[in-house]
């Protein structure tokens, strides 16, 4: 998810703003994210898609959200940026999702995208500028109206005041006039010491509706005249639909239509149950196609042999070969991170109404423009005739960065004249996921005679997601995501070589997954650091500290996490403390985890302490929530998750065979903010996830002396609690 953020060089962080009279009166403040072709400021036409702020004559203030809310709290975070400078309290503001429009294109990704923990980072400056510009223009309008100098007016809580004369006008009353004011250039921003909202933790703006059932996720869309269909695709990629029992399906109560694609079928009816029962009756048969021999074993074999080759060199400092050869202590290891499903709780779904000349799409997507293009490609309609109504997403984790499912739904929906909601069952959602790649990492490191790291050679082998998603983003054939978190470690390493071997898995489509490159690479790096610490007979905390000579922020979070967790304290038998440090998404984070491993290999997670420095903190409670949730997400994976394949098909299908962490096994998680307000702002959505696997592996080692280099851990410990080598 980081990837889209890195495709283009980071551009100026200043927004180019436009103001206009809104339809029906009022101020419409639009923003143009610089660096993209063409300014798209609109006049006060009915449709002003690139607006950030709309202030109606009646006083209603609307913020238009160009990022989609998937649970990360971004609606609130972004609203805080606007509201801080606009001087309005959050309870006076309404939020609206932005439509799919090029104007909302992310400044650096070249795409309208929510991902890469980039939402706050991308908005930090431009949206505060937008809020400030609007405020200044409103003040300007008031001062003109009252014929007083602007400098004698202040904006407060949705109104402009003139304290000397005790006059006051609400923003609504000034909105029309404000639209005609000159946009300030440059836009002065508040000094952080004056922040009233930023840095506080207000009630989240999206959650009230989520607490009483009124929030509308994509799955909840209801359109007049709509029917509902269940989609089933060939369980083996590249296979085809051979046949099905149309008659039986149509006899199912409530079933009205059946439509097919070469590799999929949708049974449509009056309600989801008709669609589900109808699909059972339809009993589709498949020609499994060329990949039906694929299995986990063939995948591993392919990765293993690909990993023998030299890859694309991503980093090369010093003479690694010589340094390794002369290292008195050297560790060679292979780390394996399996295929993963996203398994967001809301399964994939798309509601469409495709007409001969236009279309509407209701969906929760991280990439509305791509979604629109998918529908255009499927229907032949021009994109501007297609309206994407973006919705709340019931968990993204990277899954909704891909829009293929929307294309599939559009090709099915265009075969019927009515609006139709097409959904995947949980089974379909897991089996047909675009999986997080399997990464196979070879790593060799050597210590010098003082016990310091001398040489480091890390070769990662796996799918390059970017090669499919945005091939133009590859740099000399390298997907930088494959090595993110591996090339730049927090540690001083004199000779370091990183390589990446692209190995696309047969019959599997891959996609980013929460924490992307760092989630897999930090597992390898922090595991290896721990291995080296133990090999050198040094405490893992001190070993890290000794190598943090150039990373003061790293040192700070590491020490804080260790202090909070009571590093070094005596522990009950079977307990162990693990530690892991990383820098990703412009955040520094260190985590200490206490685990207990029982005699039968059962793992209990006791408590995690994460210290984090993410630069300026907009919404501290959301930072805590994201670290907590992100850790649980990552710990779930590290303990339990792996998608395996047999006969070309994913073997997992629902929560009875793809295990989720539950409340009764979640550890206590404490988050300690030690942020540096002057540093660059970081993104927090994935930081917790990144830390999970390495800190758990290191804690298990501390508790048992067993080094686990393959995810998931729980089955390995349970099947072989003592860690005996098999003969």
């Amino acid at each position: 998810m980081r990837k889209p953020h890195d495709i283009n060089p980071v551009l100026s962080r200043r927004a180019i703003l436009r103001a206009a009279l809104a339809t029906g009166g009022g101020l419409m403040l639009s923003g143009m994210i610089p660096g993209l072709p063409g300014a798209r400021a609109q006049s006060g036409s009915a449709f002003t898609p690139n607006a950030f702020i709309r202030i109606d004559r009646n006083g209603a203030i609307t913020f238009i959200m160009r990022h989609v809310e998937m649970g990360q709290g971004i609606y609130t975070g972004i609203a805080m940026l606007l509201a801080e400078e606009l001087e309005v309290s959050l309870d006076k503001v309404r939020l609206e999702a932005a439509p799919a429009n090029a104007s909302y294109i992310d400044k650096s990704a070249g795409e309208e995208v929510t991902g890469g923990s980039a939402s706050t980072r991308d908005s930090w400056v431009p949206l505060r500028q937008a809020g400030a510009a609007a405020r200044i223009m409103l003040i300007q309008a008031a001062s003109t109206r009252w014929s007083v100098p602007a400098s004698t007016c202040v904006a407060r809580d949705g109104a402009v005041l003139h304290p000397e004369s005790s006059r006051r006008l609400d923003y609504g009353a000034l909105a029309d006039d404000a639209a005609h004011q000159k946009i300030p250039d440059p836009v002065p921003l508040k000094n952080p010491s004056q922040f009233q909202l930023i840095g506080t933790s207000p009630q989240r703006m999206d959650t009230h509706a989520k607490s009483n059932g009124t929030a509308c996720f994509g799955m909840d869309v209801r359109v007049e005249g709509m029917k509902t269909g269940r989609i089933m695709a060939c369980p083996v990629k590249g296979g085809r639909l051979k046949g099905f029992d149309r008659e039986a399906a149509l006899k199912t109560p409530g079933v009205t239509d059946i439509v097919t694609l070469p590799d999929a079928i949708a049974v449509i009816g009056d309600h989801s149950w008709a669609a589900i029962s109808g699909m059972k009756a339809a009993r589709p048969e498949w020609d499994y196609g060329p990949h039906s021999g694929m299995s986990s074993a063939t995948q591993l074999q392919a990765l293993r042999s690909a990993s023998e080759k030299t890859g694309i060199v991503a980093k090369n400092t010093g003479d690694v070969t010589a340094a390794l050869a002369s290292s008195p202590v050297r560790i060679d290891a292979i780390y394996e991170s399996p295929f993963l499903a996203h398994a967001a709780l809301e399964p994939i779904n798309t509601t469409l109404h495709i007409r001969s000349d236009s279309a509407d799409v209701w969906v929760g997507t991280q990439v509305p423009l791509r979604a629109r293009q998918e529908v255009a490609d499927a229907t032949g309609l021009p994109p501007e005739r297609i309206t994407v109504h973006n919705h709340l997403i019931g968990g993204g984790f990277g899954r909704r960065l891909d829009s293929n499912s929307i294309g599939q739904a559009a090709r099915l929906a265009k075969q019927v004249p009515f609006p139709v909601k097409l959904f995947w069952t949980r089974e379909e959602d897991i089996r047909q996921d675009q999986f997080r790649p399997f990464y196979y990492d070879r790593i060799t490191a050597g210590l010098d005679d003082k016990g310091l790291i001398k040489a480091w050679h890390h070769r990662t082998t796996g799918s390059f997601v970017l090669a499919r998603w945005a091939p133009e983003g590859l740099q000399n054939g390298l997907d930088s995501d494959a090595v993110e978190g591996a090339t730049e470690t927090p540690y001083a390493i004199p000779s370091q070589r990183n390589e990446a071997v692209q190995c696309e898995p047969e019959g599997i489509t891959t996609l980013w997954w929460r924490g992307v490159g760092p989630t897999h690479n930090v597992f390898v790096v922090e595991g290896m650091i721990d291995e080296l610490a133990h090999a050198s007979g040094t405490d893992p905390l001190s070993f890290r500290r000794r190598h943090l000579t150039h990373s003061p922020r790293g040192l700070k979070v590491l020490d804080e996490a260790a202090r909070q967790a009571g590093w070094g304290r005596p522990l009950p038998k079977g307990h162990g403390l693990g530690i892991a440090l990383h820098y990703s998404f412009q955040c520094w984070a260190a985590t200490v985890l206490e685990v207990e491993v029982g005699g039968g290999g059962e793992i209990r997670l006791i408590r995690a302490d994460t210290a984090v420095d993410c630069g300026p903190v907009v919404f501290p409670d959301a930072v805590r929530a994201q670290i907590q949730g992100g850790l649980i997400f990552g710990l779930t994976m590290a303990l339990y998750n792996e998608i395996t394949f047999r006969n070309g098909q994913a073997e997992q299908s629902n929560f009875h065979n793809y295990r989720m962490m539950r409340l009764n096994e979640a550890p206590d998680i404490r988050v300690h903010l030690v942020s540096d307000p002057d540093a660059e702002i970081g993104g927090i959505g994935e930081v917790g996830t990144v830390a999970a696997a390495p800190v758990l592996a290191n804690a298990i080692f501390a508790a048992t002396g067993r080094r686990l280099r393959r995810i998931p851990f729980a089955p390995q410990l349970a099947m072989n609690p003592t860690g005996e080598k098999k003969a």
């Binding site: 629902n654 065979n657 349970a718």
Partner: protein
């Protein structure tokens, strides 16, 4: 199609079964037997046209369908997708694996070439049309009790189905069990090869119940322990383990058998697959209920209960405890898993959440220290079609480790059945 079949087997079909049992067939069984047998033998071998002498052709077919249901042929002979009687299902027995055959009227791969006499010989003597001996997984030692009229009605019904080509996989049996001729000797000892005759000393209900239980329902095939030859022992209905599941004691013993069950509870269990304080049926019993018992007329079930009540008590097998709860405190690995994966349907106290099929408190399987059925259900899952849709549970070996499942089983036995037992985690290995 299961649904469709359910709809296709309305009251009329089942009324016929009532008629049979009430009237002509059973009570005149002895008299009819010889004549029918003789006529069957005169039919030319290879005659596959619908049964002869069809003065009541349609009656015979619908009666046959009802009998087919009562004889629970589908439970074994349905194909894996549950759509046709083409067989294929594997039965893993102590001496190898046997597959159910195709019983659609396909001439080459099914029963299409069977004459009436072939059919009767098969059902009674366990000898197939080709002269090959059947293995007693096919309950011909029960079906032998059927009257000619009933046996041929079943055939008549089967011959109205579309013939489908399908050859089941080869059986894989170890020597000497792969020598079919050895079955000749087995049959000497184990196959009574006689028709059932009513016991005039007993009530009509008892006699009907006996015919339904012994001949058609072949309940003893699972619930009566086998002797060393794999024949049914004399310990009728004392309970036995078959294909990895325990079929519990059905004798009148209060603790071990059905003595403690009320008629209502038995009725509910047999007809709907669950009874308050006895838990739901699972595994093969769930299949017997789904394909057969749930589709019988209520009176038939009541008659079977009358008969079962007369089975002499035997204190064999695990005793049955009802809701012996153990108060819980602190961390228990078993309870921990139960909270996650099981309470969603069964509730912490085992009373069942959304439906009665989720109420497992009092189930015999949960006071069985061998935990055979509990292990089987956790491994394979189970499902049961009811009037309210399909109730099902998945297996859990893919996410929970053998150790966790063993802890779960131990906890459930303590918590719901009041028995202390250690379940070997190996039983949950893939």
């Amino acid at each position: 199609m299961r649904g469709a079949m359910r709809r296709n087997v309305p009251a009329p079909g089942t009324r016929f079964l009532r008629a049979i049992c009430l009237g002509s067939t059973l009570l005149t069984l002895g008299a009819l037997d010889a004549g029918r047998g003789a006529r069957a033998e005169t039919s030319p071998s290879g005659d596959t046209s619908p049964p002869d002498g069809q003065r009541d052709g349609n009656d015979q077919v619908s009666r046959g369908q009802a009998l087919f249901i009562a004889a629970d042929c589908a439970a074994c002979h349905l194909s894996a997708d549950g759509r046709a009687l083409t067989g294929g299902r594997a039965f893993t027995l102590p001496f190898g694996t046997i597959h159910a055959v195709n019983i659609t009227p396909d001439r080459d791969t099914g029963i299409g070439a069977y004459s009436d006499s072939d059919w009767l010989a098969m059902l009674r003597k366990g000898v197939g049309r080709n002269g090959k001996h059947l293995y007693p997984v096919m309950p011909y030692t029960s079906y032998t009790l059927l009257s000619d009229e009933d046996a041929l009605a079943i055939k008549a019904y089967l011959f109205t189905l579309p013939p489908l080509r399908a050859t089941p996989p080869m059986n894989a049996l170890s020597f000497p069990f792969n020598q079919r001729w050895t079955m000749i000797f087995w049959n000497w000892f184990n196959n009574p090869n006689r028709r059932m005759t009513p016991d005039p000393a007993r009530s009509a209900a008892w006699n009907r119940g006996a015919y339904l239980t012994e001949a058609l329902g072949h309940c003893g095939q699972c619930h009566t322990p086998r002797n060393f030859m794999f024949g049914l022992s004399h310990r009728a209905y004392a309970g036995a383990v078959q294909v990895g599941w325990t079929a519990y004691n059905l004798t009148s013993d209060r603790e071990h058998g059905l003595g403690g069950w009320s008629d209502d509870a038995l009725f509910s269990y047999l007809s709907a697959g669950q009874a308050r304080n006895h838990g739901p049926a699972s595994g093969p019993m769930a299949e017997a209920i789904e394909h057969s018992l749930s589709r019988l007329p209520a009176q038939d079930i009541r008659d079977m209960i009358v008969y079962l009540r007369s089975v002499p008590a035997r204190a064999d097998g695990p005793a049955h405890h009802e809701g012996a709860l153990e108060p819980d405190s602190g961390f228990s690995e078993g309870r921990h898993v139960f909270q996650q994966a099981c309470a969603g349907c069964h509730l912490e106290n085992g009373t069942g959440r959304q439906s009665d099929w989720g109420a497992l408190g009092g189930s015999h399987s949960l006071s069985d220290p061998s935990a055979t059925n509990l292990v089987a259900v956790l491994r394979e899952g189970t499902s049961l079609q009811t009037d309210h849709g399909r109730m099902s549970m998945q297996g859990f070996t893919a996410v929970y480790t053998p150790k966790e499942l063993s802890a779960l089983s131990g906890w459930m036995l303590r918590h719901f059945g009041g028995v202390q037992a250690t379940i070997d985690p190996k039983k949950f290995r893939p």
